[in-house]
Amino acid sequence: MININDKSITRKDSITVEFFYEKTKRLFKLKLLSKSCDFSRKIFDQNLHRPGLALAGFVELFAYQRVQVLGNTELRYLNHLSKSEQKKSLENIFKFEIPCIILSNKNKPTTILKELAKKYKIPLFSSSDTTTKLTYFISDFLDDQFAERITIHGSFVDVYGAGMLFVGKSGVGKSEVALDLVERGHRLVADDVIILTKKGEGILMGAGTNIAKHFMEIRGLGIIDVERMFGIRAIRFQKRLEIVVELEIWDEKTHYTRTGLSEQTVLISGVEILYIRLPILPGKNITVISEVIALNYLLKHYGHDAAKIFQNRLNSRLKSKNAMAQRGIDYFEHDFE
């Protein structure tokens, strides 16, 4: 089975505002409004908060540890207050250790907001996106940052659009199968060190590391650069994990599936993934079988389950009188080809 233990799993418990800004300024066009601020503040939570009630003075259960988003409503509220009221209202939230404030919808900060942000050294950003859009993008980004990450030893290939992860003992031939698949036009996601990240519920996304990229070790050859060798068509950066194929040396005592009627799955970080044990035998072309696994997976996905259809055909025949299999063609009709 796949080797996953506590040592393979990481989860960030916080990110700094500096990191957040570095990544999001490019992605979501965030603009920094206050130059003198404390960039080492930390974000501990993937959710965002709109501090309407806190601005109005109600700070019980105030989710201060989250990124604070001020939209039209909050700014309209601040603008309708007198200067002293506005100062009081903002200090209500500034006395908490909030990570940063983002103004959505091209909103401009009020003078007092700017002054206080400077005084309390709170990073202040603005975005031209609408609040809903901005909230969606940033939540998604933070979700990814705070998601569980699992490192797995294997080879990860996109075979006809199905994300297939080959696992198995060292030297069993995972990289060789991956290379063979690449040569046949499939795309390598990563070899050797695969990092899986949970995305939403029930989805695992896989990618390589920034060091190994699309490099691969072939025993007896050494390290090769797949992207350079086979071109851009041979690689991709990320892929959803859909099938785990365990390669192993044929073991007489192990029971391998013959009909494919019952599917085995493996649970990775709470996500169920189709799991296939593939014994290696002389004369067996693992690459072609891998392609067939992918195609069969796609067929099932589109509602065609070969094992079930064969079973149903047999069951209906068993009910009839002349159940035994006959020749598939009644009469050759002068066709002697």
């Binding site: 080797n3 233990n5 040592k7 393979s8 799993i9 990481t10 990450r149 490192t151 030893h153 003992k169 060292s170 030297g171 070899d191 050797d192 060190v193 590391t209 060091i211 190994a212 490099f215 691969m216 070790e217 390290i223």
Partner: protein, 88 residues
């Protein structure tokens, strides 16, 4: 199963030559050998994995050996780490 923590002692860190040696040493044994660092758990029998760790001088790595010949494997590989890969 044997689990040990080792520290990288040489100045150059765990670069290609020692990485290749570790992989070669590990390949002699039947047991599973994993190296982990900050949530990255890699197979110690794969050169790309070991190089991906990018373990610099002073980095602490957890070595895990699991299998029939785990003791012999641990002894030889830990010794290689202890000697600072035979480098300064």
């Amino acid at each position: 199963m044997i689990e040990l923590i080792v520290t990288i002692k040489n100045k150059a860190g765990l670069h290609t030559r020692p990485a290749a040696t570790i992989v070669k040493l590990a390949a002699k044994y039947e047991c599973e050998f994993f190296i982990s660092r900050d949530g990255m758990n890699i197979n110690g029998k794969s050169i790309i994995g070991v190089m991906t760790l990018a373990a610099e001088e002073g980095a602490k790595l957890t070595l895990t050996f699991d299998g029939a010949d785990e003791e012999e494997a641990a002894k030889e590989i830990v010794d290689f780490f202890e000697r600072g890969f035979g480098e300064e």
